[in-house]
């Protein structure tokens, strides 16, 4: 039976349990005439729910467990079979996964052309498949029927049905909340696992401190592991350069916008300006990338040329400039929050001494809000470092080690994208390098975020 069919049967069983139990409790209530004593009763439907949970949940859990162990089980039985039949599959044991994939993806048409040994394995595979499917169907359905019967007996009129049901819902809610943790664990595991494989081939120090990055040449088998090819320093420097240009634009402009909006602008101006900034924040990054690559970069190049400077057409300046503008609303809204958290008493204290508004802002508000602003800047830096589309479209591919913003540099995110798009073998050092870069990116932004969030929270608590 297919999994969908099994789940459907389970749902039918659950519905059956629900209605039967509810009816029973209804009937009991009526005959026992508890009503007269005016004792508040648990509604019959809760008994139905609990009964339905009994028939559904254990069977579903069993189904999931079987699904997880099914594949390795089939694989190991097949491996045993291959060994016992002495079929030669390849030169090494690590090709077994590949071989399994081939077997799995064989279709009926291919069978005619495939070699007889493969066909033998394929048939055996199908046999195992169907056995495991039978086993699964029987176990799950048996479990479901058993538990339905058990639930019918177990749920009695004095069972605290509502409490049990609500506890169950609470657990479901908790599981939903835990997904955030699971996601983080998933991210860490997926980048860490592949990175460890990568560092098995390329030494960690070569990656961290190497000055040359040319993964393309390393595809050739004679060059795999050549230590000079995976030095990530040019990428780190390039990322930093573009992020710095972006922050150089975004922080002053964002901060000044926030100050103007919260301290000077009339409420009418504010009511127009804030949504406009929100639009700026809502424009997809791919649009910024397009604009940077096709409009801003040529403009900057031409401008540079007219001033007698040589500017690369994929200059770090163009990408950084557009990225900076993208981050303005982000910085502005963070600073706005932070500035408005400074107590009015502080403002009045300064104004009451005869300070002008700008003196109050520069000498009192900003120093008071500094931790919050720093936190905001760190978050903005984290965004700039992790920003992908603008740099993929407007920054270069070649890894130049330079701090001149007029030249083309490449970034960590650009390299991740170029290494992973297109059809490469998943196991090559080249694709694994992308995960190592991903790990660096994740760790860097994680540190920035944690510090920033901590600083901002501390700051808020101070004024609350």
């Amino acid at each position: 039976m297919s999994i969908t069919a099994i789940i459907f049967v389970l749902l039918l069983l659950a519905a059956y349990s629900y209605f039967i139990k509810r009816q029973k409790v209804y009937a009991l209530y009526r005959t026992q005439s508890i009503k007269k004593s005016k004792i508040k009763q648990t509604l019959p439907k809760y008994f139905g729910y609990v009964a339905a949970l009994w028939s559904l949940v254990p069977a579903l859990l069993v189904l999931i467990v079987i699904q997880i162990i099914d594949e390795p089980l089939v694989k190991s039985s097949l491996a045993d079979y291959i060994q016992s039949e002495k079929i030669v599959i390849g030169d090494a044991a690590d090709d077994f996964d590949l071989y399994m994939n081939e077997i799995k993806n064989m279709s009926i048409d291919e069978l005619e052309s495939a070699d007889p040994e493969k066909i033998k394995v394929f048939n055996q595979y199908q046999k195992f498949q169907s056995i495991s499917n039978y086993a699964m169907t029987i176990i799950v359905l048996a479990m479901a029927i058993l538990m339905t019967a058990f639930g019918m007996k177990k749920v009695k009129i004095n069972t605290p049905a509502r409490v049990i049901f609500e506890k169950f819902i609470e657990i479901i809610l908790l599981l939903a909340a835990s997904i955030a943790v699971l996601t983080t664990v998933g991210i860490v595991l997926s980048v860490l696992f592949e990175s460890i494989r990568f560092f098995g081939e390329i030494p960690f120090t070569d990656f961290m401190f190497g000055l040359e990055w040319s993964p393309q040449t390393a595809i050739r088998s004679d060059q795999v592991g050549s230590s000079s090819a995976f030095g990530a320093v040019p990428l780190f420097v390039g990322t930093m350069l573009i992020s710095l240009v972006a922050l150089f634009i975004a922080v002053p402009l964002g901060l000044m916008s926030a100050i103007f909006l919260s301290e000077y602008a009339s409420s009418r101006f504010r009511s127009i300006a804030k949504p406009v900034l929100e639009i700026l924040a809502g424009i997809p990054t791919v649009v910024y990338g397009f604009f940077a690559a096709l409009t801003v970069a040529p403009f900057i190049r031409d401008l540079g040329e007219s001033l007698g400077m040589s500017v690369a057409s994929e200059s770090a300046l163009a990408a950084g400039l557009v990225m900076g503008i993208m981050i303005i609303p982000f910085v502005s809204s963070l600073s706005d929050d932070v500035l408005s958290a400074v107590p009015t008493a502080m403002r009045e204290g300064s104004l009451g001494l005869g300070a002008t508004q700008s003196e109050t802002i520069v000498k009192v508000l900003i120093p008071a809000a500094l931790p919050g602003i720093v936190g905001g800047v760190l978050l903005a830096a984290s965004r700039a470092i992790g920003e992908t589309m603008i740099v993929v479209m407007a920054a270069g591919l070649a890894a130049n080690l330079t701090v001149n913003p007029l030249q083309a540099v490449t970034t960590v995110t650009v390299q991740i994208v170029t290494l992973l798009t297109g059809d490469q073998e998943f196991d090559s050092a080249k694709t694994l390098a992308a995960f190592a870069l991903g790990l660096m990116l994740f760790v860097t932004t994680l540190i920035l975020n944690v510090i920033a969030l901590h600083v901002v929270r501390k700051y808020r608590e101070e004024y609350e």
Binding site: K40, E166, E170, I172, L173, A176, A177, I179, A180, T183, T184, I187, S190, V191, F193, E194, L253, M256, S257, F260, Y264, A273, V276, E278, L280, G282, I283, P284, T285, V286, V287, Y288, F290, F291, L294, T295, I325, I328, P329, Q357, S358, E359, I361, L379, S382, R383, I385, T388, M389, V392, I416, L420, T421, A434, F435, G438, T445, L446, N449, L453
Partner: protein, 425 residues
């Protein structure tokens, strides 16, 4: 006035100057952001405009029975096999008998689009009574012709700098004199999938792909996010695990989106062997990415529900769960929906993580389900922006306009919801 006052007064002019400069700096900052937005939107709109118009060439086609090898009773299958290319070419040859050289002929044939024969085939399949007639039919023009007609390629440029050479230009002008060239609204752009030919490329495939992806994202992230938000606001005890969850949510909101793409690639595609390039995986990845956004918005919406409402329900003997689901959740729903729509808008514009899971492939077919390989609007923009053909520039801009249009609609709905259901507690 005393001495101090005089001293203060002396410095005042300078201080007010500074004040003015400071204020002007603020205004300039905002003005800069506005200018940029205006520039960006006008630039893209101007570039996009021609994409909504399609150039067509009207040709007198000889659809006689012997020419096509068909008759009025031919089955659809037979019509599909017929050689419509020859029909179009002979019509062109007939109109320009002077073009003799093989190379020149090639130029002549490339006046109409590569897809014109399929356009003609579909037309005949829909109207079999065309067979045996001679009819004037409008065919899609090649992108070069399109560019010349729209003026994107300047006819007065020197031939060496011009993509369309003199011969072809004279052919186009010949057609123009005969009033055979017409322009109409570009339905192709909205009704077909991607193509290597700019004049045949459309965004329907990308729109459908985006739709499926967003649907998966919504179905996954909304219930999970709401459940998580309710748990954290209403039920969570104060302990380390809950702290861990909170830190994780806040941090995930700031993790670069491309990292989620790596997660999708490593976990869903390599480990769980889910289909590459499919909206299903894209939706899962995007839902993980938007979860924190929706959770944070939902939490603040739940927080805004006044305690008095909870107390009222609890005071009547409702259980905590009943209080939450009967009273708090409905009251917080508008805020939650607003947050969800904003999260969906964010997901709709997201590109990087989808690149990682292979939604960047060239896909002509329009996806029919969440398991079909497909691409999404932002990635279509990315793909076209990378194309060397000039004709794709306007398509890219037009696709951006469509994308921004969708985003504006979603945000407008969110604002409407917020305004309509805004309650003053």
């Amino acid at each position: 006035m005393n001495k101090v006052t005089q001293k203060v007064e002396k410095g005042l002019k300078k201080r007010y100057m500074k004040e003015k400069i400071f204020k002007a700096c603020g205004l300039v900052s905002i003005g800069f952001a506005f200018m940029f937005l205006l520039l960006l939107l006008t630039d893209i709109t101007i570039k996009a405009w021609p994409a909504f118009v399609q150039t067509q060439i009207e040709l007198k086609l000889d659809l006689s029975e012997e020419n096509l090898g068909l008759n009025a009773k031919s089955a659809q299958e037979e019509i599909k096999q017929a050689d419509f290319r020859a029909v179009i070419r002979s019509a062109l040859k007939k109109q320009f008998p002077d073009v003799k050289k093989r190379k020149d002929r090639k130029e002549l044939y490339s006046l109409v689009s590569f897809g014109a024969e399929y356009q003609l085939r579909d037309l005949v399949m829909d109207n079999p009574n065309l067979i045996g007639t001679r009819s004037s039919i409008k065919l899609i023009a090649d992108d070069d012709v399109d560019a010349v007609v729209k003026g994107t390629i300047n006819r007065n440029d020197d031939e060496s700098n011009r993509r369309v050479k003199n011969l072809k230009l004279s052919l186009i002008e010949g057609l123009e004199e005969n009033n055979q060239i017409s322009k109409q609204f570009n339905w192709t752009f909205f009704s077909s999938g991607d193509s290597r030919e700019p004049e045949l490329a459309g965004i329907k495939g990308a729109i459908m792909g985006s739709l499926y992806t967003i649907l998966v994202t919504l179905l996954l992230s909304f219930p999970v996010a709401v459940a998580a938000a309710i748990y954290l606001e209403e039920f969570a005890p104060k302990n380390r695990f809950i702290d861990l969850i909170e830190i994780n949510i806040n941090n995930l909101a700031a993790v670069p989106s491309i990292v989620f793409g790596l997660l999708g690639l490593a976990v869903f595609i390599n480990f769980f062997s889910m289909p590459r390039s499919a909206p299903l995986v894209g939706g899962i990845v995007l839902s993980l990415m938007t979860l924190p956004t929706i959770i944070i918005a939902s939490r603040s919406a739940i927080k805004a529900v006044p305690p008095s409402l909870r107390e009222a329900a609890l005071g009547l003997g409702a259980s905590k769960m009943q209080t939450v689901f009967h009273h708090v959740f409905p009251a917080a729903l508008p805020g939650i929906l607003t947050g969800t729509i904003i999260g969906m808008a964010q997901a709709l514009g997201e590109t990087a993580p989808l690149l990682m899971i292979g939604m960047v492939a060239f896909i002509v077919d329009i996806p029919q389900s969440i398991g079909d390989p497909s691409t999404v609007l932002p990635i279509q923009v990315f793909l076209w922006a990378d194309s060397p053909e000039r004709g794709f520039l306007e398509k890219t801009s037009a696709a951006i306009l469509v994308l921004i249009g969708f985003l504006i609609i979603m945000n407008a709905v969110a604002i409407y919801l917020r305004k309509k259901f805004e309650k003053k507690w």
